[in-house]
Amino acid sequence: MPLYREGAIVPVANDGLAALPLAEWLQAPTQAVALANTDQLDLLKTHLGRLKLIVLHFPKYTDGRAYSQARLLRGRLGYRGELRAIGQVLRDQLPFLLRCGFDSFESDQPGFGPALARARTLFSVVYQGAEDDRAPAWLLRLRRRDARAAEQIGPLAAE
């Protein structure tokens, strides 16, 4: 299955990290683990530091459990390694996948690479915070308000 990362519109070579299913991996933890979308994440906690790759599974693209897993791994457990989406991964999921912290993708859909190159800029505004550190609209509104207030205060303060 072709593997994609941002920055190239063509598939990249697999780095050879073999991700083991969670049960096997727990026996002998390595640098890569593959989770089912029903797996509990607490079991990974103590080994997060050594993990370089976590693979999350979309059995169907309409099954959205792995989005929550991704956000918990990134936001709650602080995982910073590679987070890969496999299974039925289609280009129209990309804006959501990227926001939830995925950074590599297996997909055989034609046009996936070019779509990945554009996916982050498809929406220049987001309404809610997620794992991509984009400032949501409410925060930008507050910043703009503060900036305007500062502008108004500025000349007065100078006098």
Binding site: T62, D63, Y67, S68, D92, Y127, R141
Partner: protein, 557 residues
């Protein structure tokens, strides 16, 4: 034209909407070229409001918290004329449905919506749907706080939520700010009820797992009091628990109500609170300046003092009996003396409930500009509401609505029927609903009789998915199919009023399409004979039980 007195889009909102339209345009193009299969396209079109019905695509347009400016209503009329057959159907969830949209036109139709800051985002599909509110919000005399502020906050948070766009099933949220619940919060996936606790603080009662459909369940209280600034952190926790643990093996068991039912409300609470403990001190805690800025946009219009008692109105009440009836049933107390909330009935005798032509929509917009600060509401009873009408202007508004056919004095009465589109439009339906509603409506057309019968909610669904909310009708009618014959099952005693929320009970075997009017007539006759002083139909039913009604119905049919 008057300024709007509800949330106004800024450049952030407009940019997102424009980008969404372009994304959808590209998706439709890829579908038309065959690049996307129907299976791949389906969730994409659904979350843009495009639903495949029996004869054509249907576009479901969101009317967030049921509030429309007249500019928006006129645009809806224009879109209905241009892309449909010149009429639209207002639904029980504050949406407008256009039933004859062509796929290739859909991107242009949503682009036209975006011109007036409207959209069809997340009106279908397994996502957080359009959040609904009390249709009297911001005007009702009994209101604690305007629920629309919170609906808008939820709208922004839930729009294109990256984590919750592929839920096990659809997810509906409703908010009420009044002790008299007009938003049916106990039959939603999440219902939010603003209330003032004994310490004087206003917060939310969070109700979870209610719903109608095939498995009707009354929602349970998950949190008795939630501080307002924790709303999004708490909702995100509920949704995360649902997204992870809701069933996905069976579409009929995938709603959150089944999860709550299967694990129990205590376990659900434990899971949500555990999640919330880790979520609440995050950026999801609402900044008071954000709340204040949004609340400020919902500030009531500067209503000038107007007389509460008007000689001409009193005189007309005596002179025109129908006007007097209309005042009683179609107007409600406003928070400010000298004003009333007017409901325009979209249920004239014999008409399909909730339908309005483009010309009628424009007519209502004209009336709202002249008499109601340019604002119109859509109710879940499928009527339109003029929220701020001066008592002095009531005769003029009555006359103007009458010219549109929307002044039927039947709001809350037996002919103010809720009905789903039924077999005439819907691929899921087993039986027709609209013709049944029309026949009942014609049979009970006499207004004096309707007012004598009093408040009576009749709700009709054409299949067990219950879009007509039959479970919570005082009289509920469910269309079923037995060997190719349309039959109608009758239930009694359903209610969504807060504190009385109940599901109706089936009284016996289903009756034929040609017997349904007689059956309803028998129910009404039983009530009229047995009612006590001041009792509504549902009160009498609660007191005497189903038996007397049953006997009469099955003797009649």
């Amino acid at each position: 034209m008057p300024d709007t007195h509800f949330y106004r889009y800024d450049d952030f909102d407009r940019t997102l909407l424009a980008e969404r339209v372009e994304q959808f345009r590209d998706q439709v193009r890829r579908r038309l070229s065959g690049e996307l299969t129907e299976e791949q396209f389906k969730p994409l079109r659904l979350t843009n409001g495009l639903y495949l019905q029996l004869h054509a695509y249907m576009l479901r347009i969101a009317i967030p918290y049921g509030t429309l400016s007249t500019r928006q209503l006129r645009k809806l009329a224009e879109i209905a004329r241009k892309y449909d057959r010149g009429y639209g159907h207002f639904t029980t969830r504050q949406n407008l449905q256009l039933n004859w949209i062509k796929l290739e036109d859909a991107p242009d139709a949503v682009a036209a919506l975006a011109e007036v800051d409207m959209h069809a985002i997340q009106t279908s599909g397994n996502v957080i749907r359009n959040t609904t509110a009390d249709h009297f919000a911001g005007a009702a005399a009994d209101e604690i706080e305007d629920p629309r502020i919170w609906c808008e906050i939820i709208r922004q948070w839930s729009t294109l939520h990256p984590e919750f766009s592929f839920l096990p099933r659809k997810f509906k949220i409703a908010v009420t700010g009044s002790p008299n619940d007009r938003a049916a919060v106990r039959v939603h996936d999440v219902g939010l009820r603003l209330w003032r606790n004994p310490e004087g603080q206003v917060g939310f009662e969070v109700i979870v797992g209610g719903g109608l459909g095939r498995t009707p369940i009354i929602g349970k209280t998950l949190r008795a009091f939630l501080p307002k600034d924790e709303l999004l952190a708490y909702l995100e926790s509920v949704l995360r628990v649902y997204n992870r643990y809701g069933r996905r093996d069976n579409i009929y068991k995938a709603r959150i109500k089944i999860l709550v039912h299967e694990i129990g409300v205590e376990k659900m609470r434990e899971e949500v609170e555990a999640e919330f403990a880790s979520t609440k001190d995050s950026a999801l805690r609402l900044d008071p300046r954000t709340i204040e800025a949004i609340a400020g946009q919902f500030a009531a219009p500067p209503l000038p003092h107007r007389p509460a008692t008007v000689g001409a109105v009193e005189a007309l009440k005596i002179e025109d009996r129908v006007f007097a009836l209309w005042l009683k049933s179609n107007t409600a107390p406003h928070r400010m003396a000298g004003y009333r909330i007017v409901t325009a009935s979209l249920k004239p005798a014999g008409a399909p409930p909730g339908d309005a032509s483009s010309a009628q929509m424009e007519g209502v917009a004209d009336i709202a500009d002249a008499y109601s600060w340019g604002e119109v509401r859509v109710s879940h009873e499928q009527n339109l509401v003029l929220p701020h009408v001066a008592v002095e202007d009531l005769p003029a508004v009555y006359a103007a609505l009458g010219r549109l056919g929307f002044a039927e004095a039947n709001v809350g009465k037996i002919t103010d029927i809720i009905a789903c589109p039924g077999l005439d439009y819907c691929a899921l339906a087993n039986a027709r609903s609209i013709p049944v509603a029309q026949r009942i409506s014609n049979h009970f057309a006499n207004l004096a009789r309707q007012h004598d019968i009093g408040d009576l909610k009749v709700k009709i669904s054409g299949c067990i998915n219950a879009c007509g909310h039959h479970h919570v009708g005082h009289i509920g009618i469910l269309g079923v199919d037995k060997n190719g014959v349309e039959l109608y099952q009758i239930s009694l005693g359903g209610d969504v009023d807060f504190g009385h929320t109940a599901l109706g009970e089936i009284i016996g075997p289903a009756v034929g399409a040609d017997e349904i009017v007689e059956a309803v007539d028998a129910l009404v006759a039983t009530y009229l004979e047995r009612r006590g002083e001041g009792e509504r139909f549902v009160d009498t039913y609660r007191r005497i039980g189903a038996e007397p009604f049953k006997e009469r119905v099955y003797a009649a049919v």
